[in-house]
Symmetry: C2
Subunit: 567 residues, 2 copies
């Protein structure tokens, strides 16, 4: 057989036997043909002969749980950033665009992922919407029909993380038929299991869920493995205790390394390779860590054509100076070089698919949108959401009197730490104002069309003028983030696709995001992760009090509170 | 959730972590719901509560490479025999019926396997026929179209063992497109790799082959695992050396235990459990052996719904007094008991599917069919096939003068060890006589419609009268085996389905087979396995000289020889 590429003088990572051997590989038609020990036959010809110089050949990394949207960029921009780090296959769950644009948006992500040198598989988001119309305006509703519809695409191989435990057990009449439809279509069903154990865990798994990627502990990990769950270790779970537990397992088949969410600033210089390196630093043998980021996820996902360096498999591989030396010296996909020394060297599709119809960012909003028109001059006995600290997003509730001026705008006092918050349904049908304490955005305003999970327009500030200006800036960009001081735009990140994604290179997106966060800190915010915390203040399924376009939400009771007593 | 069955006071084999723990399981809808450590909650209700009395709960055994036809019985009779031994899932390759009845016969096997308590998956035979019309008459020819046709059935999950190495590498223009079609349909491609190593092995694997079940050695096993091959250990491969090699692997995911061929007399009291016990006797830890006969084959085959004792999986399991104490105390399939203490207790479908058209056993044949009509009174310079020993089926070639009587029948001398052999195409279109030395069937005759791989009618004897009587007996039975002495039938086994299978209980078939072998020994045969050796004397792909309806076959050169010089 005529070979396209011959790579000689290599050290080959044999993840089947967890060893390294000196040898060579021959590639034709994008597949490994020969993977042999020793020196290559002198008379063997190939189009291209590469002397690996003793470097390691390692399978391309496979990320079995992640969200491209967390990096705020399109699939092609994601491929451009992730491939140079050695990630060659991902399973992405486009949960965010699904909540905005429904089935058509998921299809758009699938279409925008075709023809990339990165091989992208899709998990259909299972919790669209996270709540329901009694809590907030939402754009799309996924049931069994949507799953059946989307499952026809051969790159759709899973149902995304089933977050709604109570829903799965029957309190949501959409979820059980959706999971059943997914299983009938041969899809994996991905889990999200922050707290369940014992019989409650089993009840959840019995519906066909086979993975968990939430923060784990040794005891949780061991119980899940015993119950056949693929335990996906993301950054937070890579602890010495967990890794020691993994190392002691007689069979590590079910241990996978995943990224879950990688924000733009991180993606600029790391992806799944980072998780591999963290695992090794925490005590996992390098070959084990690599197996858990290639061969094991390939097997878990049922991708029989990849995951190892073996005859017949896709020639997706990395050349490394050392087993954990990232970025790779070179990255190959189907036998073709796509990146070298951290730089992307392949080509990307020139065009994005045509965008489907989706509810755009509402606007432009005037200053009156940030005033209480019916309560001019009144004093409100307000229900105030309180941020409990500067490290996470836990919130509480407090009552406090808020005075309004004659135009209906709140009168804040210096140092009171208060903010006005507005959430505006994307279709313009509803809006609500409320109060937050603890973010300490002391001047100006921030607006965002990226506000989990429904991605209605979220605006926070102290005065109607700044808030209207921020909302207008986001509207003019077609989506994204904006920070204003009065009518002056101090920082912005345009996310014109669904109000969630940019098609700019990740470094540009990361720089703009940094500028936004710097502006938020400059305006007084004290939180360690200012954008992150603001982006989940409308996430009505996370503890304990959040904002929606219907008012203040008690997320544990799934109930609305009035923004003030008597409202 | 209301449980159907609760099994308490058990020791559960956790094959994910390769440990045993004390606990209980709860079953509903044929699936495990709860698999928990410790004692069950006292208030948990179920239709049936079973106290396991400290017995082990082990997953039902999964045989990933086997041929139901090797037991000479129908799928329902096979289920009746194999389930009490603990085998609950098989992947069968109906290679024999395919050669006789083509696609329709494969479909018949698939249909005859539906609704059984044994879960039967099918591999489409890939080498139909083994040779071609220049060598012998064959009934069916499988190419890519037949694969595509059969692959639509959801129980068809693999392409059966690709035995034709040269064919795969392009010398047979049917095989490469057939394998490509199988891969496109998502089928596994099973291998048959008796001798390949190094680059030749890789060339073969590069077509997508992922398993081997032939006799192995430590070096062969290690190379295959490094190349991603599932190494299936059958009886012959269970040696202390191989098991020590397996035990030293850092990852045993690719080590599977299989039966391949189990003849009726063995099936009466053993199946895959036997291979498990042999592996343990050879040094494999019991939990490892069980994993290689349940969880690992389930993963290899992509059967995500079974293989372990875990929530959500099919409740296919065994109750054992000890991890290797077979037959099981009880066997459950989808939560229902199907066997106890070696006895089948479930029900089977009352009827077999209607048989498709297939070429019947030719006949009745007269005595003249066993005479050389054109050479009456001549002396033939015959090419004689020689059986080289009494242990295996290797043959050689010798030349020898054979005198014919005035009717054209050979004149044998006492103690010459010679036999006349006739092979008759099933459609009656061709026939050939030849000579064998070494079987030592000194009197009477034997006839069989089971003659690998084309299953034409095979007759061996010393005199035309006995041979015609044996051929007639097989014809009258609609297929099977017969031994005659003159016109007296001394033993017979009827195989009326395709001339290959019986629908009698396996014990009856085993008894009839024993009578046939006893009769063959009584008639002078000295071979250790008289039926086995006779059944492969027409197998024109095994070394070195065989018989076909076209004459004597040089199987290495794939060429016909004249039965005598000048013919």
């Amino acid at each position: 057989m005529r070979l396209d590429t011959l790579i000689t003088n290599a050290r080959i990572a044999d993840l089947y036997r967890l060893r390294v051997f000196a040898g060579w590989v021959g590639i034709a038609g994008g597949r490994f043909i020969y993977v042999e020990e020793g020196a290559r036959p002198a008379d063997l010809a190939a189009e291209t002969i590469v002397d690996a110089g003793g470097r390691y050949i390692v399978p391309g990394l496979i990320d079995s749980h992640m969200h491209i949207e967390s990096s705020l960029i399109t699939p092609r921009r994601f491929a451009e950033a992730a491939l140079p780090r050695g990630t060659t296959t991902v399973l992405t769950d486009p949960h965010e665009v699904a909540n905005v644009g429904g089935v058509a948006a998921v299809r758009w992500m699938v279409d925008a992922s075709r023809g990339l040198p990165l091989d992208v598989f899709t998990a259909i988001p299972s919790c669209v919407p996270a709540t329901g119309p009694e809590i907030e305006w939402t754009s799309a509703v996924f049931g069994a029909d949507e799953i059946i519809d989307l499952a026809d695409d051969p790159t759709v191989i899973a149902l995304g993380e089933v977050m709604d435990y109570q829903g799965l057990l029957g309190q949501n009449d959409r979820l059980p038929p959706m999971v059943a439809a997914a299983l009938r279509r041969g899809l994996r069903v991905e889990g999200h299991i922050p707290t369940l154990a014992g019989m409650a865990l089993s009840s959840y798994l019995a519906h066909g869920v086979t993975s968990d990627h939430t923060l784990t502990t040794p005891a949780k990990l061991l119980e899940q493995v015993s119950k056949g769950v693929a335990v996906m270790l993301q950054m937070k779970s890579i602890t010495p205790e967990n890794i020691a537990t993994v190392n002691a397992l007689a069979d590590r088949s079910l241990i996978l390394l995943v990224t879950d969410d990688i924000e733009p600033s991180l993606l600029a210089d790391r992806h799944l390779d980072w998780i591999v390196r963290l695992a090794v630093e925490a005590g996992m043998p390098p070959l084990e860590a690599l197996a858990s980021a290639s061969l094991r996820p390939a097997r878990y996902l049922g991708l029989r054509d990849r995951g190892g360096i073996a005859p017949g498999l896709r020639a997706d591989f990395l050349l490394l100076d050392d087993l954990t030396a990232f970025p790779p010296e070179a990255v190959f996909v189907e036998g073709q070089p796509v990146a070298a020394r951290g730089a992307f060297t392949a080509s990307l599709p020139a065009e994005l698919p045509a965008l489907p119809a989706y509810p755009a960012v509402p606007g432009p909003l005037g200053e009156d949108a940030f005033r209480f028109a019916g309560q001019k001059g009144a004093t409100l006995a307000a229900n105030i959401v309180t941020l409990e600290n500067d490290r996470n997003s836990l919130t509480g509730l407090a009552q406090r009197a808020i005075r309004l001026d004659e135009a209906g705008a709140p009168i804040f006092e210096p140092g009171d730490g208060l903010n006005l918050v507005g959430v505006f349904a994307r279709d313009g049908s509803s809006a609500a104002l409320g109060f937050l304490q603890g973010a300490n955005l002391n001047a100006g305003a921030f607006a965002s069309s990226l506000a989990h999970d429904s991605h209605n327009l979220f605006v926070i500030g102290r005065d109607p003028r700044s808030m209207a200006a921020a909302a207008r800036a986001v509207w003019e960009q077609g989506g994204g983030l904006a920070v204003t001081e009065g009518e002056t735009l101090t920082a912005a990140l345009a996310l014109p696709l669904f109000g969630l994604l940019s098609d700019a290179p990740v470094a540009e997106v990361a720089a703009a995001m940094q500028a936004v966060e710097d502006a938020l800190w400059a305006a007084g915010m004290t939180h360690q992760r200012p954008f992150l915390v603001l982006s989940v203040l409308a996430l009505t399924v996370s503890p304990y009090y959040k904002f929606s376009d219907h008012g203040v939400v008690d997320t544990e009771r799934r109930a609305l509170l009035p923004a003030w007593e008597g409202a």
